[in-house]
């Protein structure tokens, strides 16, 4: 064990080597190159911020250069104009940069993608316009005479010593960034990047996360600005131009936007290349443009993505080979003598046999009870508290709620610009049952789920869950109250591993929990650690442990379907909404699905299931609700409902002859 070089250790070793090289580097550099190195480190800091907001959180931010500018100009103005000391000015400048970041982040609450791109770019143009015109910023000529930061008597006028200051800040920034990416906050951001809708349904507060992403980016931008002001002693508008914004963008994309190390590599590489070619301006520009296009076309994940791509290809073939082992699939039904050991674990992780026994998932959600209080570590306590709050809310369900009814929908109307998708739908879901929702295509089944899970705000009617009204509530709120769902067309987080997919949903903390990142990072780490072991246990229960480090797209379809159920269950819901979970599954897989759903119900989770496969519905559901054209046309036991003339008519049409084969309903 101690001699094994895991990828993590390799990475750690690489980081250590890099740190030593970076530390020794100034001894080999002349005065010209040390100034290039100083610039490169600043760009690296900026690039990490860009990487966090664009690569990790998926928010197009073309205002990063303006955050940089706010940091630099605020330092300049506060030191030269207002006479503050450097570090006081630096602190205030950071505050100003973060405020700028939050302002630039506000549009992200409403718009995304290219819309957000042009708006943030416009804000950057506006910033440049302001600094070139305002008297306080010195206009075109800028501000000079910014003092050198004092630091315990170290002479920071020396570019060599300044290098070390920058290096320390960069190292801290990189470590903090990596820490964020690998723990709950960053994981949620990555989930939001891959699929904001599914992330919201898994309990992530999308709006807050977007603002936090912009806030993070501006912290890095502001820090780089402060360091720039202290290094150059002079600020002028041309440093913060749109051309430099695009250069910064190129650094991030070429290096690899989804990897912070890649952002640093891209920043250092492009800064050096730019200095090397500075005499050949036009040809350098030509070469730079060609390289950018070539990287984007041939290596979309950037330079750091190339080795991972090759490695990934190898893992994929192993995972695909093992996927169809029947012993794997039995795990979730709790009767498999699972031999997950036979399954290749891509990360080289092996479990002792006693951990591989197919533990039924039914044990896992029950942690919601007294079980969860066992984990009284401070990190887990807040989670337990949140849960208790939920339970207290549920305790009030006596008032106005029929006992035993978990969800009641009444008079629900959903209109999309004249099209009425749901027309006065009323139904009840009793605690502990499996309720089937059937109906022809376009009858409003998925719309019903979307309203219940908070993706749509209903046009009218009420939805009460455990006695409280949830109609029109945000989807993250509904997830936190205890409703989880799967999607008709799979919505897994594409660039997250199987384990991370489950972790996103298992993490029940609220966004404000993230203050710990600043004040108590160890608590974050410990919470994450505990979460991981729970997530692995859940994956084992579902027989998915062997795929923990695979990406969803590498798995066969049936396994992806199962993973989505595992992800939904990871949030310990009281009500699980399954939207056509059997679509695309073969007979064997459908039987396993039935077993899984029953096991979930037996563990105390109420299940609502949309399904076209009537055999499955008949065997699984205690009650069935039939929708047609947005209205409930029948409900009751499956046997009764199947004989209901209205149902037959809905499925077969008025003129259908008896004995005509039922047309296969497909999505």
């Amino acid at each position: 064990m101690s001699t094994v070089l895991t990828p993590f250790r390799v990475r750690l070793l690489g980081l250590a080597v890099l740190a030593v090289v970076a530390w020794l580097l100034p001894y080999r550099l002349n005065i010209y190159w040390i100034s290039v190195a100083d610039t490169a480190l600043l760009f690296a800091l900026l690039a990490i911020g860009m990487g966090l907001v664009m690569g990790i959180a998926g928010q197009v931010n073309l205002a990063q250069i303006a955050f940089f500018g706010v940091g630099a100009y605020a330092t300049a103005i506060l030191t030269t104009h207002d006479g503050y000391g450097f570090w006081v000015a630096a602190l205030l400048a950071m505050v100003a940069a973060v405020l700028a970041g939050l302002v630039a982040g506000v549009p992200a609450l409403r718009i995304q993608s290219h819309y957000l791109g042009i708006v943030t770019l416009g804000l950057a143009v506006a910033f440049v316009d302001w600094i070139t015109n305002a008297p306080v910023t010195g206009g075109d000529s800028g501000i000079s005479g910014i003092p050198t930061p004092p630091l315990f008597g170290i002479d920071l006028t020396s570019q060599y010593l300044y290098y070390y200051l920058e290096l320390v800040v960069l190292a801290l920034g990189l470590l903090f960034g990596l820490f964020v990416v690998r723990t709950p906050l960053g994981r949620r951001m990555r989930a939001m990047r891959d699929d904001a809708l599914a992330a919201g349904a898994a309990g992530a507060e999308i709006g807050v996360l977007r603002m936090m992403a912009f806030g993070l980016a501006s912290v890095y931008g502001g820090a780089a600005g402060v360091l720039y002001a202290g290094l150059i002693h002079y600020v002028a508008p041309e440093t913060f131009s749109i051309a430099d914004m695009f250069l910064l963008l190129a650094m991030v994309i070429i290096g690899g936007r989804q990897s912070l190390a890649g952002c640093v590599i891209g920043a250092v590489g492009l800064t050096v290349a730019q200095q090397e070619l500075t005499n050949l301006a036009a040809y350098a520009q030509l070469g730079y443009g060609v390289v950018v296009v070539a990287v984007v076309v041939f290596a979309p994940a950037g330079l750091v993505g190339i080795p991972a791509r090759l490695r990934r290809r190898r893992v994929r073939s192993v995972a695909a080979l093992e996927a169809f082992q029947p012993s794997m699939l039995g795990g979730a039904e709790g009767r498999a003598e699972a031999s997950a050991a036979a399954v290749a674990v891509p990360k080289g992780r092996r479990f002792p046999p006693w951990l591989q026994a197919g533990r039924a998932p039914r044990r896992l959600p029950s942690r919601r009870g007294g079980d969860s209080r066992r984990g009284s570590k401070p990190a887990e306590r807040s989670e337990a508290l949140a849960r208790r709050k939920t339970q207290r809310g549920l305790g009030a369900e006596g008032r106005g709620a029929v006992p035993g009814v978990l969800l009641s929908v009444s008079g629900l109307v959903m209109r999309f610009r004249g099209v009425t998708a749901l027309d006065d739908v009323s139904l009840e879901v009793r605690a502990g049952e499996i309720l089937g929702v059937v109906g022809p295509n376009g009858s409003g089944k998925t719309t019903l789920f979307n309203v219940i899970s908070g993706l749509y705000r209903p046009s009218g009617g009420s939805v009460r869950f455990a006695g409280r009204s949830i109609a029109g509530a945000r989807s993250y709120r509904i997830s936190q109250l205890g409703i989880a769902r799967t999607f008709q067309h799979l919505r897994l987080f594409r660039h997250l591993t199987v384990l991370d997919n489950v972790l996103v949903s298992m993490d029940r903390t609220r966004s404000w929990w993230s203050w710990r990142y600043i004040c108590w990072p160890f608590g974050v780490w410990r919470y994450d650690h505990a979460l991981r072991s729970r997530a692995l246990a859940l994956l084992r229960g579902f027989g998915l442990a062997g795929f923990a480090s695979a990406l969803p797209a590498e798995l066969p379809y049936g396994i992806q379907r199962r993973l989505e159920i595992a992800r939904a269950l990871a949030s310990s819901p009281r009500l699980l909404l399954l939207d056509e979970p059997a679509a695309g599954l073969n007979g064997d897989e459908q039987r396993q699905l039935a077993g899984i759903v029953r096991a979930i119900r037996d563990s105390g989770v109420t299940v609502m299931i949309i399904e076209h496969n009537m055999g499955l519905v008949m065997s699984l559901c205690e009650r069935v609700v039939v929708l047609d054209s947005g209205a409930v046309i029948a409900s009751g036991e499956p046997g009764e409902v199947a004989r209901d003339p209205a149902v037959l008519e809905a499925y077969l049409g008025k003129s259908a002859l008896p004995g005509l084969p039922v047309p296969e309903a497909s999505p």
Partner: protein, 289 residues
Amino acid sequence: MQSFFQTLVSGLSFGAVYALVALGFSLVYRTMGLVNFAHGAVLMIGAYVASTFYLSARLPFVAAVPAAMAVTSAVGLVIERVLRPLENRDFDLMLIGTIGAGTVLEAVAILIWSSSGRGVPSPVRTAPLIVGGVRIGTYNLVVIGVVAVAMAALTLFLQHTKRGAAMQAVAMDHEAATAVGIHVGRSNAIAFAIGAGLAALAGSLASPMLYVSPTMGDSLGIQGFAAAILGGFGSIPGAIVGGLGIGVIGSFAAQWFQGYSDLVTFVVFTVLVMIKPTGIFGERTVSRA
């Protein structure tokens, strides 16, 4: 009141150019799903080619502009071929890939025409019209007229020719279009070539009003993109309204806030987009689960 109309007129003539730029963005975007940040650079190439035909080859302006459009369309075909892997990909990649292509074009322009710019004299020398005390430059009227004709021609092409209908079909669903036998690659190439031709038209029309330089496309490109978003990305009437809107806002911002016109324009733009994210004639996206 007089100065109000004066500002309005100047805003409308710049707005007409922005509308043309926005139209190029929108046409390429709706047909092939490519957000083309190289559009400004293509426009700059068009302006240089037109000014070269006009000033050096001594062609009349009315001949120089179509010639420049033809040359630039050919350049557009090459760019489309290179950027084809980016079509319908995620936005970050398109953004930086097309910016890279724009950088290449700017470098090429510097190598051919040097980095110093050139002024282009107005091809229309008649005295400005004076309507109710408002001076209207004849060239401004020509610009607005040409833009109106170009818009009408494009609309006719898209709605009344087989090729145009095929491009509309690709815009709606490129897989379904393939299934009914439309050559999507060719349709995309034509869309890009038309977009590049429109950019050349915008660039050459703008060159007597501005100054032809390798970086002239940067600001025109950003304004045109903002115009496309404001009007509703992918919509032809949206491009017109958005372009005129950005032109008028910029003109009044310059009148009232002098140097701060960019600041005011983009703050107003941000607020408008926040209020109506899909623009005036917006593409409508419904999140489906």
